[in-house]
Amino acid sequence: MTASRPTLRGTAGALEAARSEGRAALIVYLPVGYPDVDGSIEAARTAVAAGADIVELGLPYSDPGMDGVVIQQAVQAALDGGTRIRDVLRAVREVAATGAPTLVMTYYNPVLRYGVDAFAAALAEAGGAGLITPDLIPDEAGEWIAAADAHGLDKVFLVAPSSTTERLHLTAAASRGFVYAASTMGVTGTRATVGEKAQQLVQDTRAAGAQRVCVGLGVSTADQAAEVAGYADGVIVGSALVRTLIRPDSDRAAALTDLGELVRDLAAGVRAGGAR
């Protein structure tokens, strides 16, 4: 099945490597351009050094409909600071150089505007692993699927607790790398509990043919990471990490220290929950 054949720089390798260690992978989200472009690259490198297996770099967008307040705030600051698509591509190049597969998480319009195939070509050239597309369902993604296939990129589509069995099949078949299971019906942000529907969703998505399923939305602590690692191939953490970077005192060294500490905790969490 070509849809799930891993590519060299793709995320499947890292997920399989984690699996062979008997654990889930830790996937971190950070928006490019916050606190500034270099600062976000530094943050991503810090996260990789502290144990992140895969990096999701957010492409800042003016209308982030699936994001909660923390990421909205960081992304708005990134745009106000003048972050451009070319900065995102530079960040991809520098973060991918750490060896961690580096995805871009982007709303669709910036890709459409850049030119879907041109974007895929530029991303592949920068060493990027592929795209996570929160507002693009496979039904609308013909152009992106063709471009991703042409350039050997991962296509990470999302499933949600509301997805029907038919849609789980469709999404599993269209995805390459992994399928992103949204743990709850909602937007990004930290939550006291990861949705109880997440485990069932992972099972159902696997039953629909997905080889690798990672869970995101709401994971912020090592305990939650351990819990999710008990049933998923990867644990995705975003808002909790971004929050360590948002500091009234703008003390970057302290922010990176906090970020590194949280990533180390989460990395320990995915190992603690690895008894699968």
Binding site: Y61, S62, D63, P64, G65, M66, G68, V69, Q72, Q76, L79, R84, I85, Y108, N109, P110, V111, L112, R113, Y114, P134, D135, L136, I137, D139, E140, F157, L158, V159, A160, P161, S162, S163, T164, R167, T171, A182, T184, M185, G186, V187
Partner: protein, 417 residues
């Protein structure tokens, strides 16, 4: 991208795609809700029980059919052509928005949900939604950009009087587009209890088709009223375009009357060249915004550009996909109207006909003045030239803005806006 290809006439095109435009560019989490809504609407619109209830509400609650009014003193400034206004300003709650809202509120009841949410710019859609929520006993939350809550403070108070919660949105540009983002975020999280009553013909399928279906009564009534009154169709149907619901509602009945020009008036703010405008079709590019592929005001990275207009209801950097399609196939034309042109038409209608229009609708009036003058200059016989203009709303909500524009207040007067 197909799905509408079976249509033989323009009026039969129902989405999800209008040519290359439309679709559903939304998170997967919303797909089930959109599927449910699509199915519920398909069923309801052909169900006599639903359509009869809606017809009774239109008649007894809204006051439909709204009349058409010929405005000769105003039309004297348009080369002396004949101008008829479709009086959506006389509807209960003061604009065309109620047509759509009553239908969607009835649908909410039908699918058993207990809470409605809506975005609003000028506040007219929010007021209409709050009104329907009061009537049907539904919980109601309205999202409104903080900037707009200032510009339209009276409508905020109206919504609260009607029992709605009004949430000022402080993200992004703090206007309509951000209110829509926030409403979608609410919907994803609360979809089991909540129906999103979208206010215009934009957004993901089924909203463009459903809102169009609920607004097409404007053109259908006007078409038969004109036939009855003067036994002919207009030379042009003219409407303002924000998201495009009153315009689509007016245009739809005439889509296959190829001799009737369809003219959409976009808000040009300080002028299209100034960059401070909301003329999406005139100056935008194809893209994706709020769930649909359509024309969008955007920069070279695909970031949405902030729009500007004196009229909060037209201050939107996107537009309904059906309009983008009608523009692309040349069936409808879209013209820019500046703040200054709109305000001068606003004043003219007040003085010549004793009708205070919404500033949104004044953009259509300005478009009609320009069109009539141009047609007559081009040799048309004014007595044989008929323009039909959608007066989408009344200007009560805009009195403070107009007073400031025309400097009408005594220096020591207190204005509580």
């Amino acid at each position: 991208m197909s799905g509408s290809q079976a249509a033989r006439t323009l009026r039969e095109v129902v989405g999800p795609y209008f040519g290359d435009f439309g679709g559903r560019f939304v998170p997967e989490a919303l797909i089930a809700a959109l599927d449910d809504l699509t199915a519920a609407w398909e069923k309801a619109k052909g169900d006599p029980e639903f359509t009869d209830r809606l017809a009774v509400l239109h008649r007894d609650y809204t006051g439909r059919p709204s009349p058409i009014t010929e405005v000769p003193q105003f039309a004297a400034h348009a080369g002396g052509v004949r101008i008829f206004l479709k009086r959506e300003d006389l509807n209960h709650t003061g604009s065309h928005k109620i047509n759509n809202v009553l239908g969607q509120a009835l649908l909410t009841q039908l699918v058993g949900k207990t809470r409605v949410i809506a975005e609003t710019g000028a506040g007219q859609h929010g007021v209409a939604t709050a009104t329907a929520a009061a009537l049907f006993g539904l919980d109601c939350t309205i999202y409104m950009g903080e900037e707009d809550t200032r510009r339209q403070a009276l409508n905020v108070a109206r919504m609260r009087l009607l029992g709605a919660e009004v949430v000022p949105v402080r993200t992004g540009s703090r206007t309509l587009k951000d209110a829509i983002n926030e409403a979608f975020r609410d919907w994803v999280a609360n979809v089991e209890t909540t129906n999103y009553i979208f206010g215009t013909v934009a957004g993901p399928h089924p909203f463009p088709s459903m809102v169009r279906d609920l607004q097409k009564i404007i053109g259908e009534e006007a078409r038969s009223q004109l036939l009855q009154r003067i036994d002919r169709l207009p030379d042009a149907a003219v409407a303002c375009v924000g998201g495009g619901s009153n315009a689509m509602g007016l245009f739809h009945a005439f889509l296959d009357d190829t001799d009737v020009r369809l003219v959409g008036c976009e808000a040009a703010g300080d002028g299209v060249a100034s960059g401070r405008h909301a003329a999406t079709i005139t100056a935008g590019d194809p893209g994706v915004l709020h769930g649909a592929r359509t024309m969008v005001l955007q920069d070279e990275d695909g970031q949405t550009v902030e729009s500007h207009s004196i009229s909060a209801g037209l201050d939107y950097p996107g537009v309904g996909p059906e309009h983008s399609w009608l523009a692309s196939i040349g069936r409808a034309e879209y013209v820019p109207v500046t703040d200054a042109e709109a305000m001068s038409a606003f004043e003219l209608l007040c003085r010549t006909e004793g009708i205070i229009p919404a500033i949104e609708s004044a953009h259509a009036l300005a478009g009609a003045l320009r069109l009539g003058t141009g047609l007559v200059a081009g040799g048309a016989d004014p007595a044989e030239t008929v323009l039909l203009v959608c007066l989408s709303g009344r200007g009560d909500k805009d009195v403070a803005t107009a007073a400031a524009w025309f400097d009408l207040l005594d220096p020591d007067a207190e204005v509580s806006e």
